[in-house]
Amino acid sequence: MSFIRFALKNLFAHKTRTILTMGSMTVAVAVLFTLVSFNRGYEKALKTQLQGMGIHMMVVPVGCPYEAASLILKGGKIPNYLPADVLDQVNAIPGIDVAAPAFMSGIVRPDEGRTDIFVGVDSATLRLKNWWKIDGRFPEKPNEVVLGSDVALIEQSHVGDQIYVPEKDATFDIVGVLEPTGNEDDGMFYIPLQTAQKLFTDTTIATAAGSVTDKLTGISIRLKDPDDAPVISAQLGKIRGAEVITMGELLGTMMTLMGAAKSLLLSIVLIIIVISALGVLNTVLMSVFERTKEIGVMRATGAAQAHIFGLIWLETLMLSLLGGLGGLGLALVGARLLESLVKKFLPLAPRGSVVALEPGSFILIVAFVIGIAVVAGFYPALRAARAKPIEALRSE
């Protein structure tokens, strides 16, 4: 019989109490592990997605950087437009490789639980996203559309089919389907820029700002040399009515937005963990009180103070570790479920998995649990070790 086996036997002498205490640790660790994994996964997914877009910066209408961020990731509607001559001003700045104008708008279909995003593009988009592979061809005529791969799946449509957009009373010929890109491009309808401007421009905003048909919601820019980003960003920032967002800023903005929610969640998890640690301390302390005579017998049969301290500490460690490992297991099983729930409430959720179950997080949490056990077990272990053998033997 080893010390570990002895400690295990002591732990499971009161099964219900031990299992309940372990359960509280399991829940706390499961939530913590999921949160840590989510935080890492979200940042990673966001970076991957932004890098995968091949865009170094965006020019958007003044006053709506967050909406622009949302547009970049998920698509949507921008409550403002860029002035007509911005594209020419952008193209005049040296160092810009491609400047692709876009007019983006969405049609909300609550009954189907989705929003169809229509993006008006021109040939510059093809140059910007030069990795695109289209089964068919790029739209040229006003009533032609290319579907993202997910859209084609949902609509069950192929090249040569037609789709009707009842909200705009418009029919489009499908001339191409985009091969899967793994990012948000898969979920959009691509139509000619001018068609989008005609169909989707909000006349109330456009009238206030000038003509109806030459508005843009954003210009995606790729630089010849990404190191020029600060200089070019400064030049673009001087254009009236336009605001520049670099991808680095966008990532920072989104992580800041996430930060507040993350802090709140972390605070809740920390409270759960403190409660759980107190539960562990209480369980071990009760066990020490109940076994005072036993501890006296152990001292009489040769146990030093260090043996008793080690035994009680080992019990705490095992209780916490078993609960913690249970929590990690629970998190591994339940992470995907939790991810789908979390994604529903996240306004800026990137595509793909936002939960990164990494070995680093695993080690971090195990170390954290050991830390809790070390702290929670210290007092009961010290108390048990300090008990005088004769007093421990006399206890009832």
Partner: protein
């Protein structure tokens, strides 16, 4: 063999207590549980301690077992003066030299018979399965080695407690009312074990209310108010009895 012969034969003492005091304070009153007690123990000697409740029997065993510290006096165990030792050193003395048997057995309820016996080896960081098996066989519990204490009767539990006290090969065995909770048959068996152990050179000190058990020792000390008030040597009597038998 007389008491003096024991000491002479072995030439060394397992235990030597000189002018041992243990005093407690209750308010302004000072109570002397031990009041200048002297005691020696030789290898192979069985000493019984008798006296009414509160006479100091258990206090004396606790001092010798290094479970408590004397207020005054000298206590040598296996040649080591233990009164000034640190707690860690006292644990070492208990582990290496002392075996303790309690009236209520005090077995660990979650451990099996063999695990209870093995427990002191864990604290001594020793692995001696042969010793554990040998003791289980000696106490006649081979068939119950995986039984829990609650599955045993009082006599068997005391045998396990004796085996646990012996597993580390102590030099002194201390027994506090070892037969107090046992039937007559079991009492005889426990005494038989003590005699066998004494023949192997173990020194045994037992506190008891049982006059028969006390008389079966080599020497009987009677305590009153923490002092030895009478001492009887049965060595010759026992020898003669055995010869007559």
């Amino acid at each position: 063999m007389t008491n003096d012969e024991f000491r002479m034969t072995n030439g060394r003492r397992l235990l030597e207590a000189r002018d041992l005091w243990r005093s407690y304070h209750r308010g302004s009153e000072t109570i002397h549980a031990l009041a200048g007690l002297n005691l020696t123990l030789a290898p192979g000697e069985i000493v019984s301690i008798v006296g009414r409740s509160g006479s100091g029997k258990t206090t004396l065993l606790n001092q010798i077992g290094c479970l408590d510290r004397p207020s005054k006096g000298s206590l040598k165990i296996a040649g080591t003066e233990v009164t000034g030792l640190k707690e860690q050193e006292l644990a070492g003395i208990r582990r290496d030299h002392i075996g303790f048997i309690f009236q209520l057995f005090y077995l660990i309820p979650t451990l099996t018979v063999e695990e209870n016996i093995r427990l002191p080896l864990i604290f001594a960081r020793k692995h001696d399965e042969q010793r554990v098996s040998e003791l289980i066989e000696r106490i006649g519990l081979s068939k119950s080695r995986r039984a829990l204490p609650k599955q045993l009767d009082g006599g068997d539990m005391q045998r396990v407690a004796i085996a646990r006290a012996l597993v580390n090969r102590p030099k002194i065995l201390l027994a506090d009312e070892p037969t107090g909770r046992l039937e007559k048959k079991s009492r005889g068996a426990v005494l038989g074990i003590f005699r066998e152990l004494a023949q192997d050179g173990l020194g045994v000190i037992m506190a008891t209310h049982d006059p028969e058990l006390a008389r079966d020792a080599h020497r009987k000390l009677e305590l009153s108010d923490g002092r030895v008030v009478s001492e009887e040597d049965y060595t010759q009597d026992n020898k003669q009895q055995k010869e007559q038998m």
